[in-house]
Symmetry: C2
Subunit: 518 residues, 2 copies
């Protein structure tokens, strides 16, 4: 048994049975070993950013890591942006980066570079395997490291000769180190604040946003104390819809966020970070905590959110049963020219139960959260890390993770062009993904941001944000990768196209021509 065979067998034994791949020569023995461990499913992608984003989507939906197989430093570079998003989403990912054979390094061959330096940017754990005998144990350790609370990217650098060398030893799964902690002092202070009657907000992180039971506990707490509840701007996964507790997210635009938080005297975070603006703007505050307000991090991301919440509800005597639940609501099919608003209405009218929404709708998506709040229960994945090009890969990984559920990828035109190769993998694997391209033929968010940062744009600047010359034809691009596609520009046509796509197995794409929302 060689190192690669032992490693893959160990990964499968530890519950990692999908590998999103983009291999090269140095990974050929790993690829060859896929036939020796048929439980491992290899999913080929045409670009590393698709592979890493798919692993993020897979992890968000399952809570378990997929593996990624990348080719040396440049391959890791291509995957960095979506590993960054995975890092911010605390998604467990086993990130395997093939390297030259150990003895080949001395030659500084053309593809050699400092893989560790790249990996350090996105990883909670980085290790280079040294021999076939121990590589499988390294793999088991990588799985555990990826699952260490709150979850992260574990990078295993895998020299080619470690793969091909004989003497591989299958390793047992390693329990993930999860030293979930609570802090009695912070809990006591939080209780005092909640009992004070002063204006207080509970800011909840991903553990709660993705779990309706925990969210109901928080909502019950709010009902009992008069506190308000907010979610972070881009939760990694929200569980939402009719009959579930709702969650108001902090707005992306700092000025709106400030309005949301205005007047608060206390903010208690529950597995969330302190609210701060996405970007800095001249003369505007980065810190969104109202001046003078106290901030209590009752429990950090990765801490024991459940126990902390139990301590709070017990002290307050609140009940999840008092949590207000969202009423079922479906808008009527919209009519007239297609806009961001009518697009949201059509999505809300048709969204199937247990749909998974991969949301990279950016500016055009403004109306989506409101419109879809009362749809059948579904999951909503958002751009936690802010690195665009996330939606199409994450939709791909979510579909691999959840066969039988419809994935709806709402994707802005500019962002789509980063990782469009995802469509090919969707076609190849026959994934039930509906991609809606929100095509306003511009980097609309930058048109907005250009004004918000106080810059005065001239024609040269505006040209840098314009995607209309030439106009991108997403129908042709999708068809070119084997995905059926159509273009619409009215609400009626969009509604009909979306209904058709939801009813048709496999991937399809709708190019929705929408004017700029701002």
């Amino acid at each position: 048994m060689n190192g690669a065979q032992a490693l893959i067998r160990t990964l499968v034994d530890a519950g990692v049975d999908v590998v999103f791949s983009n291999p090269g020569t140095s990974e050929m023995h790993f690829v060859a070993a896929l036939d020796d461990v048929p439980e491992m499913r290899g999913v080929l992608t045409l670009f590393e950013g698709v592979a890493t984003g798919a692993a993020d989507g897979y992890a968000r939906m399952t809570g378990n890591p997929a593996a990624v197989l990348l080719h040396l430093g440049p391959g890791l570079g291509n995957g960095i942006a979506n590993l960054h998003n995975a890092r911010r989403a605390h998604s467990p990912v086993v990130n395997i980066v093939g390297d030259h054979a150990t003895y080949h390094h001395q030659h500084d061959a053309p593809l050699q570079s400092d893989i560790g330096a790249l990996a350090s940017n996105v990883s909670t754990w980085v290790h280079t395997s040294s021999d076939p005998e121990t590589v499988a144990a390294d793999g088991a350790a990588a799985v555990a490291a990826s699952l260490a609370s709150p979850g992260g990217v574990a990078t295993l650098i895998l020299p080619a000769d470690v793969c091909w060398g004989d003497g591989g030893v299958v390793a047992k799964p390693v329990p993930a180190p999860n030293p979930l902690s609570t802090n009695a002092d912070l809990i006591t202070r939080s209780i005092a604040v909640l009992q004070s009657g002063e204006p207080t907000a509970l800011l909840v992180g991903d553990d709660i946003a993705g779990d309706p039971e925990l969210l109901a506990e928080v909502a019950g707490l709010a009902v009992a104390t008069g506190a308000r509840v907010f979610g972070e701007t881009f939760p990694s996964r929200m569980r939402r819809g009719a009959g579930l507790p709702g969650l108001e997210r902090i707005a992306y635009l700092a000025e709106f966020a400030q309005m949301q938080l205005e007047g608060l005297v206390h903010i208690i975070t529950l597995g969330a970070k302190s609210p701060a603006s996405f970007f800095a703007y001249p003369g505007k505050a980065s810190d969104l905590v109202p001046e003078g307000a106290t901030l209590i991090h009752a429990v950090d991301p990765g801490g024991d959110v459940r126990a902390t919440l139990a301590a709070l509800t017990s002290a307050i005597g609140s009940s999840a049963e008092n949590a207000p639940l969202v009423a079922a609501f479906r808008p009527e099919p919209p009519t007239g020219p297609l806009t961001g608003e009518t697009l949201a209405a059509a999505v809300a009218a048709l969204l199937p139960a247990e749909a998974i929404v991969a949301d990279e709708s950016n500016t055009t998506g403004l109306w989506l959260p409101g419109a879809t709040a009362g749809a059948e229960p579904h999951d909503w994945l958002s751009l936690t890390g802010g690195a665009i090009g996330f939606g199409m890969p994450i939709a791909t990984g979510a579909a691999i993770a959840c066969p039988g559920r419809r994935v709806l990828n709402l994707e802005s035109d500019g962002s789509a062009m980063y990782t469009l190769q995802s469509l090919w993998t969707q076609a190849r694997e026959g994934l039930d993904v509906t991609t809606v391209i929100l095509n306003n033929r511009s980097y609309a968010v930058l048109n907005l941001e250009l004004r918000r940062v106080g810059a005065t744009p001239g024609p040269a600047a505006l040209a840098m944000l314009d995607l209309s010359e030439p106009a991108i034809d997403f129908v042709l691009l999708a068809q070119g990768m084997g995905v059926t596609a159509e273009r619409v520009s009215t609400s009626e046509d969009f509604y009909a196209a979306l209904e058709r796509s939801f009813a048709t197995p496999g991937p399809s794409l709708i190019e929705a021509i929408v004017p700029n929302s701002f």
Copy 2:
């Protein structure tokens, strides 16, 4: 004057007047300042790997840096692979990476990461600007650093508030530190070897491969001493064609390279690295220097190649006038089914004078160097760093650098899918680029490598190398980005399509269906 305005003015004054851009919010003031310095040409790309590859192509053709404008760590990540290629090609690049405002870092906003760690992988110089007063001087230093012999990537990390803050001061250009050096001892030893009459090879690097005058000096030396001359496997730029000295490159496949170098007793490198195989293979040597042969690095990359060569030719008494020159040769238009061999013949028959070939033809390109050797003089850019996805961006940058010259991008299907967004920039800028997709519907090089590394592939492994399901339609993909395209599968049709493309201003694409060469 703000920091961004002063920086751009300084870059232009230092000769950097093109910026390949993929900006985000943190770069909006840099973008806005483009209108204040109209000499700076902003070239928008849809993906960072296009921007960085284009800068590499620009540098290879001009010897001068272009600037690149990227968005934070994830944007740099997307650009890493082609910055890696630029690093290996010693291409000067001023790599500007926007960052959050200095005071925003404390909030660890979603897009924050360790930009410096990423940059260190590819840069010879990394600096973070601290204030508007000194950022322009930092820019001048970056230009100089990029040009420091032998050339490299200078990364300037640019916080948003440094751009938007007042007090910018235009800085004067800084001379590049070029401590070109010769080594008298190594020269003396090289002369002795050349005079020994023992089997000797001169292995020349990029400075010589791109300069017919220097190459003629080397060829003259070879004639006078009986030495042989080789180029590196993937020179960054070769100047070649009828009436110029030829250059035999060391083969990519180590077993062929060993045959080329067999029997040599001495190897003298002139601005080249010691020959080593691209990858390691089980049981095969990585070091290509024949056993027992002496290796003399007469001058390292970045040293004074010209002076070293002058010392050698003077001591030997050789003359560039004795260099054998390649005879003009044009194959007849090929007929029959399109193959790698007939494709090469058609290219050779039609290649215009002063064409620039961006070669990412991989396996299908085996016959190209031989077939085109006697074409009209042209430049040939190859995959120096080995990171695929280089051809289409480099063609884009070369076309920006050299208006009026036809760029021919010979691009394998698998590699094309990495940075296909290049086509949009080619259409937008109206660049005279002919892209030929060599479509064998597989990662053919990996089919070859899988067997070479000694792996025994089963169906799961072979599936990871197969691009036929679904087949990618490059005609649709090109049309989707505004580039005219057609598909051919016979030699006659390919010849006609290539002739049409060469005669038509602006970009066009030919999808050439060719069977696997191996």
